[in-house]
């Protein structure tokens, strides 16, 4: 299935774009998507942490992604 991923902070620099479109297997999990991203963009492996937010919530790696989800790459936050 086709998904759209939004990126902020250093993740946007690594992707070279605010938004990318990706083709992933149906019923892919968050964990699988993270591994996939790390394979295409090895710079993600150098980060202190890498999280995905789905529909504006932090989620576990086991969550199954659906194509209507709002998926956002969350590199280490540094607000405040």
């Amino acid at each position: 299935m086709k998904i759209k991923i939004l990126a902020f902070g250093i993740a946007k620099d690594i992707l070279g774009n605010r938004i990318i479109n990706l083709e992933i297997p149906a019923a892919a999990t968050v964990g699988a998507l993270k591994e996939h991203l790390e394979q295409i963009y090895p710079d993600f492996k150098k980060l202190r942490s890498l999280k995905l937010a789905v529909n504006q919530e932090y989620v576990d790696d086991g969550l199954v992604i659906s194509d209507s989800d709002e998926i956002v790459i969350i590199p280490p936050v540094s607000g405040g």
Binding site: G9, I74, P76, V77, G79
Partner: protein, 141 residues
């Protein structure tokens, strides 16, 4: 009913007075306010400016979660959490957290909890801009 929280993410200057007036309350005896400002140096290097980027709807949601936890964990009365986005110069306020409580121990503990948690969970990213380059803060180990 008056609101208990005032959660804001904005690109305009933050206002200490606005946060203070929101939390000030006739029933409260202690108010603690934390202000995070832009420092002119980091690890010995001179910072020229900071650029804050936020995943806005989730950042607001996570800030609201912090306020809810503060109410649950501590006996707070009113809470203001204002965070700025965009380009900030040295001395600008990046975040203001104000908390009122009947007693000061709760105000201090809740305020400290809020800034510590905000720095861990709220999707906001800070880029330090130096004379000779820029870096996303805390991105790498």
């Amino acid at each position: 009913m008056t609101e208990t929280f005032d959660i804001q993410l904005r690109s305009s200057s933050l206002s200490l007075t606005q946060c203070y007036e929101f939390v000030s309350h006739e029933g409260c005896g202690g108010i603690d306010i934390f202000v995070g400002t832009v420092r002119n140096h980091t690890a010995g290097k001179t910072v020229v400016a900071l650029d804050f980027e936020a995943y806005e709807p989730m950042a607001l949601a996570e800030m609201r979660k912090i306020a809810v936890s503060m109410m649950e964990k501590f006996q707070t009365v009113k809470i203001a959490i204002h965070h700025r986005t965009g380009l900030l110069k040295i001395g600008d306020e990046a975040v203001i957290i104000a908390v009122s409580a009947a007693h000061r121990a709760a105000a201090f503990a809740a305020c400290r909890y809020a800034i510590d948690t905000l720095k861990e969970t709220v999707p906001i990213w800070k880029k330090e801009i130096f004379a000779d380059g820029e870096v996303w803060v805390a991105a790498h180990p």
